[in-house]
Amino acid sequence: MKNCDQFRELIEAYALGALDPQERAALEAHLATGCVDCAKAVEEARWLVTQLAYTAPEAAPSDMLKGRLMQTVRAEAQSLGKPRVMPTKSAIPFWLWAGVAALLVFSIYSAWNTRRLNNEIRDANNRAASLRDEREKAEQELVLAKREAMILMDPSSVKIALKSGDAQGPQLEAKWHSEWGVVVMGENIPMPSPHHVLQLWFIPKEAGKMPMPSMMIRPDANGKFVLLVSDPPESMDATKALAISEEPEGGSPWPTNPPRYSGGVS
């Protein structure tokens, strides 16, 4: 548990849901190692965050809401066929039994039909939700692809060469647009070691300030990758250089290895 200290300061924000993706991934990777102390701290922080619900002023919903809810709940309770108490005395005429039987058959049919309709509605909703998710995903990918193209084509984007520490190694290129973000591209990039990833860092100009963690990179089978950072952790003016280092799977809040590739932001 030697790494616990570096994660402790993230735990409250994690429970609150305020961590940025890289830090959240790093903390979750640490929790996945089975760290009991941090898991306990997360549990306590979650409790603390639940208490924030009380800071919202209480308010009364409309009576109509309760009416709608109770109507649905009663209908569902009925359709699931709650056991009913039947009269125990047998002094009931045959015609009444026949009526009860007919009513029972009708009730069973109604319950079955309601359930069938509910299932059909649920299936249709699921299909619609699935299609909506796929469309949203495709739209998001299109938006990201458009943004990448805009950054790469725009003349005001600043070109940054990220040179390999090894003179024979590949050279990466980044383009940074002050409003739209950074695109980093590479070819023939060697795969990171097992259980490791490549991670992008923004190195601030301000003396003594730690490198800011950014996204993780995994080249494809041909060693190629294109990475879009739409929300860089630092502005271009405040950034001295970009660097890429090999880090443990899940990323790290700060560099644990020397950079493999780096380049100054001019």
């Binding site: 609150l16 849901g17 603390l48 619900a53 009380y54 800071t55 919903p61 109509m64 709940v73 929300d231």
Partner: protein, 195 residues
């Protein structure tokens, strides 16, 4: 018999949430109604604070309580108290609506139908009624600095991340992180001290 009915109207025992929830498993509509009457104001207040719109908030509250009705078996009273679980479900639902509404990219991987984790009450926490619990948390929150309070509220009620809060408040990222962490630690200390 009528007289007996009148004479037996002493103070009625209020069943605890856990009892009502076990009745919910038997599809007891009356238990559901009691749970709704007991907690609807808190849940609706929370959702309304997040969404700021009454009609959408009522839709979300309806979803939350229907989910409770349909999935009561997924709540295990032995693992933690009910109200935090219910409020977490309401907050997750409301934030999902907020994010869809603003067409922001969804950061949560939670599926809409997924129920929240049951949170265990820490050892320092002791049983308080909802009213006292609310008063205590509100007083502690009021004791934070305005910056700490604002940053925590943006994260909790608007679902913003550190970076998004820094951009909203136009403050350095590190400063925002400190406000949130120090504010929450102060709240925790306050809760420990008042129990």
């Amino acid at each position: 018999m009528l007289l007996a009915a009148f004479t037996s109207t002493g103070p009625r025992e209020v069943p605890p949430d856990a009892t009502l929830l076990s009745l919910l498993l038997q599809r007891d509509v009356s238990a559901f109604e009691q749970l709704y009457d007991r907690h609807a104001r808190l849940v609706y207040g929370l959702v309304l604070r997040i969404l700021q719109q009454a009609s959408t908030s009522e839709e979300v509250v309806q979803d939350v309580f229907l989910q409770l009705w349909r999935n009561a078996d997924q709540y295990d009273a032995s693992r933690g108290p009910f109200v935090p679980w219910l409020c977490t479900m309401a907050r997750n639902r409301a934030l999902d609506h907020l994010r869809l509404k603003s067409e922001r990219q969804r950061r949560r991987e939670d599926l809409p139908e997924e129920l929240p984790t049951i949170v265990v009450a820490p050892e320092y926490e002791k049983a308080l009624d909802e009213k006292r619990r609310a008063e205590r948390v509100r007083a502690l929150m009021a004791s934070l600095t305005p910056q700490q309070k604002k940053a925590i509220e943006l994260a909790y009620f608007e679902g913003l991340s550190h970076s998004e809060i820094a951009a909203t408040l136009k403050e350095p990222l590190g400063t925002v992180k400190s406000w949130i962490r120090n504010g929450l630690l102060r709240l925790k200390e306050g809760l420990q001290a008042t129990t």
